[in-house]
C-alpha cells in the first residue's frame, strides 16, 4: 500500500470505530437512564406508565408493614403533600427508617402501587438523598405558590 492509501485506511477505520462507539454509548444511555419523580408528580400522572423510574421522598411515619413471610414490606413514600404506596420484597438497607429519606426504583401499576425492585437509603444519618430532599422542596414550593398552608397535607397541589 502507498502511504496515502494507508492514511486513508487508517482514517476510515478510525471514523467507523468512532461511529460505532458513539452509537453504543447513546443506545446504552437511552435504555438505562432512570428518571426521578416526586410523589406529587406521580400522583398527577406525570410519571411514565409501564417503565421503571425512581421516586424519592420520606418514609411516612407508621406506614411500614411487614407481611407474614417476613420479607415483603409495604410502606408509603411521601413528600408531605402526596403519598405513593410501595411494595418491596427483600431485605431493606440499614438506614431505612420511618420518617427518613428514601429512594425506590420500580414500576407503578394500575392500582397506583409501586412494585419496587430496589430501595436505597444513603450512608449517613443526617444525610438525605438529594432526590428525597428535592421532592420535599418541590412539594413545599408548589403548595406555597397555591397559598395553602404548608401544614395541611390534604391541600391540593398547585398544578
Amino acid at each position: 500500500m502507498k502511504p496515502r492509501q494507508k492514511k486513508f485506511v487508517f482514517i476510515a477505520v478510525a471514523v467507523a470505530a468512532l461511529a460505532l462507539v458513539v452509537g453504543l454509548v447513546l443506545n446504552a444511555l437511552e435504555n438505562n437512564v432512570s428518571l426521578y419523580f416526586t410523589p406529587t408528580q406521580v400522583f398527577n400522572n406525570e410519571a411514565p406508565h409501564g417503565r421503571s423510574f425512581r421516586i424519592g421522598g420520606l418514609v411516612q411515619e407508621g406506614s411500614v408493614k411487614r407481611e407474614a413471610d417476613g420479607l415483603t414490606v409495604n410502606f408509603v413514600i411521601t413528600d408531605k403533600h402526596k403519598s405513593i404506596p410501595v411494595v418491596f420484597k427483600g431485605i431493606l438497607p440499614d438506614l431505612f427508617t420511618e420518617g427518613k429519606g428514601v429512594v425506590a426504583q420500580g414500576r407503578v401499576e394500575a392500582d397506583g402501587v409501586m412494585r419496587a425492585d430496589e430501595v436505597l437509603a444513603k450512608h449517613d444519618e443526617n444525610y438525605m438523598a438529594p432526590e428525597a430532599a428535592d421532592a420535599l422542596k418541590k412539594a413545599e414550593t408548589a403548595n406555597a405558590a397555591a397559598a395553602t398552608p404548608a401544614s395541611a397535607p390534604a391541600a391540593p397541589a398547585a398544578k
Binding site: L24, L29, V33, Y36, G70, L71, I91, D94, P130, E131
Partner: protein, 670 residues
Amino acid sequence: MIPEIGHFALIVALFLACCLGVLPIIGAARDNAVLMGAARPLAYGQFVFLSIAFVCLTYAFVANDFSVLYVAQHSNSQLPAIYKVSAVWGGHEGSLLLWSFLLAGWILAVALFSRHLPGEMVARVLGVMGLVSVGFLLFMLLTSNPFERLLPAAADGRDLNPLLQDPGLVIHPPMLYMGYVGFSVAFAFAIAALLGGRMDATWARWSRPWTTVAWVFMTGGIAIGSWWAYYELGWGGWWFWDPVENASFMPWLIGTALIHSLAVTEKRGAFKSWTVLLAIAAFSLSLMGTFLVRSGVLTSVHSFAADPKRGIFILSFLVVVIGASLLLFAWRAPKIGLGGKFDLLSREALLLSNNVLLSVAAASVFIGTLYPLFMDALGQGKLSVGPPYFEAVFVPLMVPMVLMMGLGPLARWKKFSAPELAKRIRWAFASAVLIALLLPLTMGEWSAMVALGLLLAFWIIASTMLSLRERLAGRGSFMQRARGQPLSYYGMQSAHLGVAIFIIGVTLVNGYETERDVRMEVGDTLREGGYEFRFNGATEIEGPNYMAAKGHMTVSKKGKLVTELYPEKRQYNASGMPMTEAAIDTGWLGDLYVSLGEPIPDSNGAWAVRVYIKPFVDWIWAGCLLMALGGVLAISDRRYRLHRKAGAVKRGAQDKIGMGNILATEGKQS
C-alpha cells in the same frame, strides 16, 4: 495551641510552595543556576512543614481535642485508637491535608532521586509540582481549614461514620491518594517537557518508573476499596459503578494507557504527543476525582450552592490546570513531534488501538458519571444512570482490547506479517477456544457470556505461555535463559495474567452466583448450592463503641460441618447508625456469604437473612494484586538503575545519540 501550630505550619508550607512554583521555573527559563538550585531545599522545607501540620491534626484526634471542629465532627472518645488515626482522613478537610502531605512526599522523593537528571529538568518538574501544591494549600486555607476551632468545645465528638470504622478504610484512602498524587509526577514531567520543548526516549525513561509506581498504588487502592465494599456494605457486590468509584476508575484507565504509551515512547520514540496528552488527562481526572468525591458535588449539584466558595474554587482550579496545560500542549506539541513511524500491522499499532480503547472506555465512564450532573445543572430534571449502562458499554470495548492484549507481546515492532503471526498463535488460540467452550459445562449451565469471558481469560493465559516458551526455549540451560530476561518482561506478563485472573473471577461470579433473601426461624435450615445453612439464632453482644445482635449459622455439606459463621447487626452508640457486618467464609473456589437483614417482629427470634454463594469472587482481587505485582517487578528492572549511572555521564550528548544507544541496548528485549 497544637492546632494553631498546625495551622501556622500550613501557612509556611504555602509560602514555600509559592516559591517552589515560581523561582525554579524562572530559573530554568533564564538558565539561572541559583534559582534552579533553590528547588531542592524548598521541596525539603515544604515537606517538613506539611509533616508538622499532619502530625498536629493526628495529635488532635488522638488527644480527643474536641475544640477542633473537624475532630468534633469525625471522632469520639470511645473510638478505638487506630480509627482515631484513620479518622484524620475521614472527612473533606482532613483528606485534603492528606493529599497535600502525600504530594509533599512525592515532591521530596523526586528531589531525592533525581540526581542523574539535568538540572533544568529537575527545576521544572519540581516547580510544576509546587504549583499544584499551591492550589491545594490555598484551597485548604481559604475554604476548608482542618484546624478551625469550635468554641465552646464539644463535650464529645459526633463519631466517625461506622462504615469507615474498618481496617480496609484505614489503608484504602491513603493508597488511592498515593496513586492520584503520583500521577502529578507524570504530569509534571510532561509539562516540563513541553516547557523545555524537548522530549526524547530518555525523557520517557525518567518518567516511566514514577508513573508505574503511581499506577501500582492506584491499582491497589481501587482493589482494596472494592474488597471493602464487598464485605462491609453487606450486599455482596464488589463494584457498583457508583460515581465515587468511577472517579477513581477513570484515572486508572487513562493511567493504564499512559504506562503503555510511555513504553512505546521509550523504546520506539513514537506516540510522543499522545503520551503527553495522556499524562495531562490522567492527572486532570485525578484532580477531578479528589475534588468531586470529597466535596460531595457528585451526589448533588446543590452542594455547590450550599458552599459556593468551595465550588467556585474547585471549578476555577480545574479550569486553570486543565486549560493551561492544554494551551501549553497546543502551543508546544508541534515542536515535540509525533515520533517514529510504524506500519498498520505492528506492535505499535496494537498498542495504539488499545490506548484508544482504554481512553474511550474512560470517556464512556465519564459520560455516564457526569451526565446526570449536567442534566440537573441544566434544569432538565433528575435522573440516574444505572450499572446496566456501564456494562452495556464496557463489554464491547473490552473484548477487542483483551484480544489485542494477547497479540501485543507476540507481535514485532514496526511491522509484522499477519500470516506468520497467525501461524504462531493458532494453537494457543485454539486451546483457549476449546477450554472456553468446555469448561462452563463442568460448572453448571452453559452460557454464552461465561464462554466469552473464559475465552478472553484463557486467550491471555495461552498467549502468555506462548511468549514465555518462545523466549525461554533455545540454547543454554532453561534457568540461564529465564534469568536472562529483564524483570520488566516478567512484570508485563504478571500484570497481563492478573487481567486474566480478574476476568475469570468476574465471569464466574456473575455467571454462577446465587443470592437468597429468606426469613429464618431459630433452627431453620436453608439448602443452597449443595450446602446446608442452619440458623441457630442471634444473641446480644456489646462492642467497644456499639451494641450488636450476633447471629450464629452452621454451614455443612452432606452432613459434614464446613464452617460456622457469625454475622452481626450493629448499632453504634454515638451516631445511632445501624451497620451490617457480613460473615464470610473465604475459599479458593468461592465464598460463602451470610448477613443479617432485620429481626422479624412478632416472631420467636426469627431474622431476615441473606445467604450468598459467590464462586471465584476472590480471584477478582487476586487479579488486581497480580497486576500491581507486575508493576512492582517492572520498576525493579535493572536497566533503570544502570541507565541512571550512564545517563549522568552522557547528559550533554544524549540528544542525538541517546536514542540510538537505547534502541541498541534494548532491542534485545523486544
